[in-house]
Amino acid sequence: MHKLWLVIKREYLTRVRTKGFVITTIIVPVLTVGILVLQIVTATRQAGHTLRIAVLDEAGGLGSAVARDLSGRLPSGQPEFQVVQVLENPPAGTRENVRARVLGGELDAFLVLPASLGEGKASAEFHTRNPGEVTISRELNHDVSNAVIGQRLQARGVDIRDVAQVVKGVDLKVIKVGTGGDREEQGQTIVLAIVVGMLLYTTLIIYGVATMRSVMEEKTTRVIEVLVASTRPFYLLVGKIMGVAAVGLTQYAIWVTAGALVTAYGAAVASMAHAGALPSLHLSWSMLACTMIFFLMGYLLYASLYAAVGAMVSSDQEAQQAQMPVTMLIVAAVVLFNVIIRDPNSSLSTTLSMIPFFAPILMLLRIALQTPPLWQIGLCLGILALSTAGIVFVAARIYRVGILMYGKRPSLAELVKWVKYT
């Protein structure tokens, strides 16, 4: 058992010390934080100054109403637009004149309300030096529309405020009913489920392939010959799988911590910028525990398969091909996301989530969406545990023979023979 510990320790330490580990572990969250901060900062910066505009009202009688309705506020509380000048029925050549002032920097933009705008036959035009600033164009559109509609209604003798009252839409809140209490739903359940599912998918592939590469390294460098002369192949396999799992958990731990910090920091920045609260993804402890359990079981299952693949190949190209069936199984689980999300408790969803190759991802998805009956989770874990044990057993036998075989990749019939060898 001491030798098993040595194998785990070596696997863990050599991996954690590699540049690759440091890069993925540190750079990924730093990049995420960086992008988030950059977005918030640029969003607040960009809308940071009031645009000085002129309004050219060729229709007549609209300009002052529009100017009044351009009441948008920047996140900083400053008005979005400062209407420097309203030119009603401007004489010919005014446009060129105003354009020159924009180019000269005296104005930031000008708004043209064409003569036929009132009849809805023309578009309003917003001329600006920097169209990038018009993240606000929707708001502008809304404001101009309001002014024009108000004008039309007024012409028909209707008060705009009455109309606003009458046509006010109804908000629909979705409340998720759960045993832990009801929660207002803003799409976060599905988002959370997909995030967790994708997380499992990525990590299963990343660490599964890492295990395969590690097996291949020992085989292609031939160091395996000395190793099997020192300890049982089963210890080597299990030690490797556990070592890589420990690396994965270390990375998870770093990310979860970093994630918590980012969320806190992001929320702080957002509240400072008055951007309003972000819809928070509520990850409960029980969900976290489920994620860990299903990750570990799924990893054990897939890492064994990947290790067996690593043991039966002798080169990278062969590995690329031979790993496809295993990777496809994980990808298939992701493809089946839709089925589960549409109806997490249908008999199809239930059956799919019981298949050991899909169970780690799909059952977790179901739990995240709508907690299935406890007996189903129990049954799923039971099936998963039994089949994982079987797969580890078969993989260990393939591993034991494969690591000493060089040359042609074995056929399926040969693999069966390997499993049967004493």
């Binding site: 030798k3 031939r222 160091v223 002369a229 020192s230």
Partner: protein
């Protein structure tokens, strides 16, 4: 002096599907000896070694080490230098050795002490914290040799230990081998270099097609062939050797020519023929056949049988 068997194989057989890799092989390797395991490529040497190393289990027969049946703990008492060398290339030299020493059952502190001693002895002290991949091939070989001997194994298996080493390093390794033997270790040497076997081995076993075709003390084996070989240095026409009734085989080495005689062939006839043809003889020596010839005869003999 009665010696115990360091490693004993009794009727060991190993099959891979239809291929009989080792066929009813029995061997006794004396404690404290240097034993040569010889044979052509694919004869079953590696499989035999792997069974002694407990990497594989025989289908039939039994293997004993130091008087006990081979168990898992026996692996800690064998050192192994495989023919295909290999280390973790991206690990540091010292870390690799500590790991491999640990797998052979050495405690951390003891392993550290011995690894440092060996690195010093093999002149690798300044490379300890380099990665294996930064080392030359010869240096990597020495590191691998340390891994084989660091736990002071009573039984040491060396597969082609000198390939890739320059004469200086080969000499150092040879001295260490003889040193270990003096301390009581048993060394199993597997090689195709017959001159090394002749110089180092006490006993040999020649296997072909999974079976022993020759085994025993090297001196006794050679004696049994008698002095049936003439070692010649001459100037002139080699036509005098063209005597199929007398000469079984001729080996030209450039300066030296070795002539193996047929049974009851009289070496005097060679000399006569040479003199008759006016060939100048500079050296004429009756010797035991080189192991190389015995190897070829035995292997070729069974191959045609």
């Amino acid at each position: 002096m009665a010696k115990n068997g360091a490693v004993t194989l009794k009727g060991v057989t190993k099959r891979f599907d239809a291929v009989l890799a080792v066929n009813n092989l029995s061997l006794r390797i004396n404690e404290g000896s240097v034993f040569g395991l010889l044979g052509p490529n694919g004869a079953g040497k590696t499989t035999t070694l792997r069974m002694i190393l407990r990497i594989m289990v025989p289908d039939e027969g039994a293997i004993e080490m130091l008087g006990e049946p081979l168990t898992e703990s026996a692996q800690d008492r064998i050192g192994y230098l495989p023919e295909e060398r290999g280390l973790y290339t991206r690990m540091r030299v010292r870390d690799v050795l500590l790991f491999l020493a640990g797998l052979k059952g050495l405690g951390e502190r003891e392993a550290g002490r011995r690894v440092d001693e060996w690195l010093e002895r093999l002149d690798l002290r300044s490379w300890t914290s380099n990665k294996v991949i930064d080392l030359s091939k010869g240096m990597q070989q020495k590191v691998q040799f340390i891994a084989a001997v660091v736990h002071r194994p009573p039984v040491l298996i060396l597969d082609e230990p000198f390939t890739g080493l320059d004469p200086v390093n080969a000499g150092i390794i040879k001295d260490i081998m003889l040193d270990l033997r003096k301390q009581g270790s048993t060394i199993i040497l597997s090689t195709h270099r017959m001159e090394q076997v002749e110089m180092m081995c006490d006993s040999i076993c020649l296997i072909n097609r999974g079976q022993s075709v020759l085994d025993g003390e090297l001196a006794a084996i050679k004696r049994s062939y008698g002095k049936n070989t003439v070692r010649l240095e001459y100037e002139g026409d080699p036509g005098f050797l063209d005597q199929p009734d007398l000469v079984a085989a001729i080996n030209h080495f450039g300066a030296v020519t070795e002539v193996r005689l047929r049974p009851n062939g009289d070496p005097q006839e060679i000399l006569k023929a040479a003199v008759a043809r006016g060939v100048r003889i500079n050296r004429f020596e009756l010797v035991e056949p080189p192991l190389n010839d015995i190897f070829i005869e035995k292997v070729a003999g069974t191959a045609h049988a």
